[in-house]
Structure formats: structure tokens, C-alpha cells
Symmetry: C2
Subunit: 210 residues, 2 copies
């Protein structure tokens, strides 16, 4: 029996939600590995990123097949184009979690995060996980107000990054630690940006914006 | 007279090449602003980024219109999907050049780049401009070997970034400077990654890869 067009779209959505779940879990575990000095967990996050990358290729292939064979128009076309954008953002979110795990692996003997800065890293992680959760819901429910909500959460993340850099400038950490922390701050902030971008693609899909 | 389908594709290509040109010019000028302490030039790069962002929206809209009205298949469909990927990468390249200009603006009174590290920043800029040039050619000539060539240049960029971070770790710069330099290194490196990604989309378009 031939799979109907809307079954195809549902399958693609399920894969996207699965990818969002993996990108969220990767971030949570990368932060735990970083703050709790767990190199085994860090290595796990790094190798699990291959699964996220493979899912993206699978989803891209699936969408291209549907585009080529079904020649969808209007709303269906937007759904598929949105899918191509969303899987890329989710792949990048996975990469950024991996980068955090890589810093955890490389610098654990030294301890990458000084005690005075652990609080802000904790908060950035919580904000990132909340945003990933919201982005996942946006995909699942075709949520129209999601981009505005995620934009507000993104402002919080930007404030946290600014706070991290401010504290860092006034601390007496080594250059090595400053380097790691600068990159860590950037990784959390970019992760959040990609979550916003997922929500924007969902709104594009439901016709709120271009 | 109705514009033919292939005229539409040519127009989209011209816009993409124009965008690549702007992203390349932004990087060159951002680096000059940074190394030659030129806040006026830095502000110019920052405000010019709006043009790149607007071009992306224009190209996205153009591609979606063509997808919806012409229902292309096979190679033509791949060309349009590649266009949606390429304009996103070029927009990000523009953003990264803007970020470099922002560091130039914020830190010029202090001088962001210590003399000992100017050489490697110069080299990263040259590598970035070369890669942007190659990516632009790839779009224009549907160049099949471009991804491999850009991958090799990207390895050079990664080595330069590693060299920057190594030198930085052994220098006695302030935490503030370490922070700026860490981010600068990351911006050049990501710019290069997006140039590689443009080439990969061109190869996808001509059917070399998925």
C-alpha cells in the first residue's frame, strides 16, 4: 500500500521531534559532563552527535524525495521547506552541545569552570533546555506564538552571556580558562539562537511570516 | 512577456553571487577596521549587514515563488533547494563579519589585537577571503570540485585557529583581550565553515552529493 502524502509529512515531523529530543538531551548531558567532571559522559555526547547528523541526512533525503515525487504546493510546500530549515538548526544545536562536551573532555584535568562562574553556566544550561523544549513543542503542535515566546527567552540568554563575560572580565582566571569560558558562553548563546530559528520556521510554515 | 523558468534561475544565481560578494567585502573591511583601528569603517560594516539580510529574504521569497508556481522536478528542484541553503550560509558569513566589526567598535580604544597576534589574524582574514572567492566562483560556474578544494582550505583555517589559541594561552594578555581573541578566532573559523557549506550545496545541486 502506498504511503499517503500526509503520512509522509507526519513521518518527517516525528523524525524532526526525535532530532529535537536528541539535541536537547545532548545539551543537558554536555553541561553535566562539564560541571560534574565526567569525561565518560562527555565522550558519550561527542559520539552520539553522529546519530543527530545521520538523522539530518535522512530527513533531508526524505523531504527531497517527497518534493520530487509529489510536487506539493502552498501549505504543503511550506511545510517541506520549513523541514529543510529545521533539521539544519537541530543539527547545529547538536554540534554546539558536542563542542561543550569537547571543552569538558579537553579541560577536565584543569576544571574548565571556576566556582564563581558555575552559577551562570547552570542558568545558561537551564535556559537552553527550556528553549529546546519549546522548539520541540512548536514542531509538534504547529505553534503560532512560539517565535515571540522564544525571542523573549533568547533575550534572557543574551543577558546571561553578557553577565558571564562581565564576571569573567573582572575575575583573575588564567587566559586558558578565559578562552574556554568565552567559547562556552558563545555555544550556549548560539544554541538558543537556533531554537528561535526553529520556531521562526514553524511560523513560516503556518504562514505567519516569510 | 513572462519570464521563463531558466531566466528566473539565472536571476536567483546573480543575486546569490551578489550576496557572496557582499559577504566577502564585509569580512575584508571588518578585518581592516579591527587591525587599523578604524571605527568609522567598523560602523559601516555593521550597518551594511542589513543589505545582506534583506537580500536573503528577497532570494528566499523568489525561490519559494518559483517552487510554488513552476513545480520543478529533478535538477531544477535541486538548484532551488540549494539556493535556500546557500543564501542562509551567505547571510551567516555576513553576520560573522559584522561580529568582527562589533569587536572592533567596542574595543578600539583599548586595541583588541596585541602586536604578537596580528600576524595570525591577518592570515585568518586572507584565508577567509580566499574561501569566499572560491565559494562565489562555485556558485557562478556550478563547480564540481569546489567542496574538496574548500575543505583543504578549511583545514588551513582550523590550523590557524589552533595556532591563535596556542599563542594566546602562552601570552600574558588580559582576560578581556583573551575573551575578544577567542571570539575573533571562532568567527573566522565559522565564516570558513559556511564557505565550505556553500560549496557542498553547489555539489548537491549538480548531483555529486546529497
Amino acid at each position: 500500500m502506498r504511503t499517503t502524502f500526509h503520512q509522509e509529512l507526519e513521518q518527517i515531523d516525528e523524525k524532526l521531534i526525535g532530532m529535537a529530543q536528541l539535541a536537547q538531551s545532548a545539551m543537558g548531558r554536555a553541561t553535566t559532563a562539564l560541571l560534574e567532571t565526567d569525561p565518560v559522559l562527555a565522550d558519550e555526547v561527542i559520539s552520539d552527535d553522529d546519530t543527530i547528523d545521520a538523522l539530518r541526512r535522512e530527513i533531508d533525503g526524505h523531504i527531497l524525495r517527497v518534493l520530487a515525487t509529489q510536487q506539493p504546493v502552498a501549505g504543503d510546500l511550506r511545510t517541506l521547506v520549513a523541514g529543510l530549515r529545521i533539521d539544519r538548526d537541530l543539527e547545529r544545536m547538536g554540534d554546539l552541545a558536542r563542542h561543550i562536551a569537547e571543552i569538558a573532555t579537553a579541560d577536565l584535568p584543569f576544571g574548565a569552570v571556576p566556582v564563581s562562574l558555575r552559577g551562570v553556566i547552570h542558568s545558561m544550561n537551564r535556559a537552553a533546555l527550556r528553549m529546546a523544549e519549546r522548539a520541540k513543542e512548536a514542531i509538534g503542535y504547529r505553534d503560532q506564538g512560539c517565535a515571540a515566546a522564544l525571542d523573549r527567552q533568547d533575550d534572557e540568554m543574551d543577558s546571561l552571556q553578557a553577565a558571564l563575560y562581565r564576571e569573567l572580565r573582572h575575575s583573575d582566571v588564567t587566559v586558558r580558562t578565559a578562552l574556554d569560558l568565552a567559547l562556552l558562553g558563545r555555544y550556549y548563546e548560539r544554541y538558543a539562537d537556533h531554537a528561535v530559528s526553529v520556531a521562526e520556521s514553524v511560523e513560516f510554515e503556518v504562514g505567519v511570516s516569510v
